[in-house]
Symmetry: C2
Subunit: 205 residues, 2 copies
Amino acid sequence: MAAQADRPVVPSDPQAVVTRRRGETLERAIYDAVLDELQRVGLTGLTMEGVAACAHTGKAALYRRWPGKEDLVVDTLDHCLPRVDDLPDHGNLRDDLLDLLRRMAAIMNSRTGCALQTLMSEIDQDHPFARLLKERVFQPRKQWFVALLDRAVERGEVQPGVVTALVAEVGPAMVAQRFHADGPPVPDDYVVSVVDDVVMPLLKP
Amino acid sequence: MAAQADRPVVPSDPQAVVTRRRGETLERAIYDAVLDELQRVGLTGLTMEGVAACAHTGKAALYRRWPGKEDLVVDTLDHCLPRVDDLPDHGNLRDDLLDLLRRMAAIMNSRTGCALQTLMSEIDQDHPFARLLKERVFQPRKQWFVALLDRAVERGEVQPGVVTALVAEVGPAMVAQRFHADGPPVPDDYVVSVVDDVVMPLLKP
């Protein structure tokens, strides 16, 4: 704290703020363009040129940041989905689980969710892009549920031995499957039943 | 019994047997052709002409039985998937569940499963064909798991109040989701864990 107080307070450079804001606006426009293009032409049809045109920018602006379309698409999805470190905290497991599963249902019903669906139906599991997507988008978000359950153990709500990777998968698997089988939207009372009638009884027998 | 014994024993007409066998062989060839065409050109590209050519028969043979390609495709899937009334019976719930989930995993990894995947990625949930597929292929097979659990209740293995449509969905949802997320094959030890660590604890707390 003392070291910080000694430092001179440097006012933000207004020019830098404007530039950064422009950067963020441009980035948002690029991500929007990627989602549009994914739904319009799919991953196969998507090109750096097409995204640049759709975002009203030049190809150079894209290549400055992304080496190719695969990285651009993965970054877009990672950016548009809820952040991995943004865990809900209601102070109890049931409400935390409900919150996270509701967010998941909302994503599935969103523009990003639709783009993701189109993408998943287009690529095989052995497509190199499927691995990239799994490593950088899905796998980290799977940890969400494990982290929620670990916190419930710390709070003393759940016995440590009960929490396994498999049990953490139950809620998200059921919501995802309902979405695949019946399409959007996943009804809220379904999400509530999954929490109250399946996941909670497994965790607190 | 007496009435049957009074009837003269009529030997099978060899000509009728040959005709019936031809009918079954032709039907099998048509179903094979539908699966091939689904994977090659999808539902949109599939035509009665294309299936007839692939099955080395005429269009008339198809139209004699099916009014259009939608009915032909649904009948094919219904025929190639395990029959709805063919429930396993090992005398105990755990082995019955394991058997049914293993069958499900095997189907997902089969040629019919691949054709079904291609189809599902091609049609929207609001496509009229999606409703037909749900009504005639998926919905009756969902009853499999409910029927298994009901039998376990009759045997006295499970308390009646525990069996709900939602609980019956847990096993199939997890196997399906594993397939969607990681592709085929769904590992057998995963199926065993779903039964032993998730479904059985829910049913026999």
